[in-house]
């Protein structure tokens, strides 16, 4: 489904702060902020007017505020890993960026209060805090588990923790929380808190591993996938992944239009570098 609320705007950078391994960036975007929902993302042109980087960069929305001192705001958590994100994180207050938002699908919110577990890997935690707030306001109990290779790569701001009943951390090197991976603690958290739905965002390998657990417990898993995108608006066909529909047919769907939020149990994981057998049109 095309997100018909999307628009292309010039967004003004309001603040840019380094937090651990990441940058917390706030942009003034005007009225369109009201259209953003947890799970949606933005696509930003990088490198300036004479840039040699021809493709947009996609970032999950960390939080959106309809009305602030500077009007509508969106906040992003950016990891300065590549040339494009390094350019973005080097910007200063009042710089303008060409931004398209909001894009993609959003996390589905249950109509009845449920017991939800939110799972984030690295800066994949970003869209989960807004989701936690929304779920809590609907009467849900929200538990959260965040994992990363090391403590500095866990993004868990104080204000984000207010909406969660419990927060568990895991790191590969043991520098924060439990030493190990997220999936090591998932079964215990699901059982102890009688979890009915898991929401997740992070690297594809992690999402696949979470799906194996949620399938075993037969609970819903809504995950925000991370596929490399060129356009973010559904025209380039590069961010596809195989997803099985209600009709049992597996199709190559665009993660920018039919995602990023998808039903984990419908994604055909482990399909890197090959088209699964029987895929529509294969």
């Amino acid at each position: 489904m095309i997100n018909t609320r999307a628009a292309q705007i010039n967004a003004e950078l309001i603040s840019n702060k380094r937090v651990g391994s990441y940058h917390h960036m706030v942009f003034s975007v005007g009225d369109i902020a009201a259209q953003a929902k947890p799970g949606n993302f933005v696509a930003i042109a990088v490198g300036g007017e004479s840039s040699s980087m021809v493709l947009r960069r996609a970032f999950a929305i960390y939080r959106s505020t309809e009305r602030g001192v500077n009007g509508g705001l969106v906040e992003l958590v950016v990891a300065p890993h590549g040339q494009g994100s390094r350019w973005l994180t080097s910007l200063q207050a009042h710089d303008l960026v060409d931004m398209v938002l909001p894009l993609g699908t959003h996390f589905g919110i249950p109509t009845e209060p449920v017991r939800a577990l939110l799972v984030g890997g690295g800066y994949g935690s970003a869209p989960l805090f807004g989701l936690a707030e929304l779920l809590k306001n609907r009467g849900c109990r929200v538990d959260m588990v965040l994992g990363a290779s090391t403590a500095a790569k866990i993004y868990a701001p104080l204000e984000g923790k207010r909406s969660v009943s419990s927060l568990t951390l895991t790191t590969d090197d043991g520098s924060a929380g439990i030493q190990g991976q997220i999936t090591d603690v998932l079964p215990k958290l699901i059982e102890e808190n009688e979890i009915e739905i898991v929401y997740s965002c992070g690297p594809m390998g992690m999402l696949q591993a979470i799906t194996a657990v949620t399938d075993r417990y037969q609970i819903i898993h809504q995950c925000a996938v991370e596929e490399a995108m060129a356009c973010g608006i559904g025209v380039c066909m590069t961010c596809v992944l195989p997803v099985t529909g209600d009709d049992g047919v597996t199709r190559m769907l665009r993660s920018c239009i039919d995602g990023p939020v998808m039903d984990g149990s419908r994604v055909v994981w482990d399909s890197k570098r090959k088209i699964p057998e029987g895929t529509f049109g294969a």
Binding site: Q8, M53, V54, L55, V235, I275
Partner: protein, 311 residues
Amino acid sequence: MTFSFAADLAGAKLPNPILTASGCAGSGKELSQFFPLTEIGAVVTKSIMIKPRSGRATPRMAETPSGMLNSIGLQGPGVDYFLENDIPWLAAHGARTIVSIAGETVEDYAVLARRMRNLPGVVGLEVNISCPNVENRGMVFSCQPETARAAIEAVRRNIGGELPIIAKLSPDVTDIVGIAREVSNAGADGVALINTLLGMVIDTNLMLPKLAQKTGGLSGPAIRPVAVRAVYQVRAALPTLPILGMGGITNGRDAFEFILAGASAVSIGTATFGNPTAVLKVRDELSAILQERGFESLTDAIGFAHREVQV
């Protein structure tokens, strides 16, 4: 004096010379949330094939300096779905449509051409005989004069009516003029220059080709000089053959280069990935440049770089 921006692309009458490039505009719907499709000269569809196609495995894309590699592999729902869904939608939204078709065999091109008769809103046919992302590179029709001719003849025989046929050619040949002459003789009303160039990126962390299928088509500003050269050469050799120019156009100045080289209209592809409204930017800037330089019409500027001058 009123300036005329109208374009005549091999008989297709368009209000302006700015088109999308095949495979870079989705089904039209995706871009229409950013601007009405009636604003541009025409929408060129992704290449339509007879059967649904999953396309190639991922990774399918690699950004390169001033460009990108793609190996989508013509993912699409097939001609039946296209005719039932996309064409009526485009017509209902007033888009002028140029349908791109691609086949695996000469017979495929014949079948597809027959299906393109009398469609609402369709003003031309782009025959993609140059996609680099097919299983067998030997099957790139436009790389050999004989196969290029056979595919275009099949379309010419089956299309009927006056729909202009534009053959899209590959730059990965020794003599693009020779191929252009061949397709013109076979019945093409014009040529689209150029498709992507075959390229490769190696991921130095994995120490493997970055794309799952190893090779992909290079597009973007990096290939613009190659494209301008191809347009210029074909225009010089075949001055009456209309050309749809493309390859790395991101602004009005870039488009002006193609017009000066001999293109009657231009397509915008990769630039749309970086900017959903790139086509409007190119349109407005080109119109302004032509008027600033004193041209009374787009037509007057076509091939202007070929004039004899004493410098």
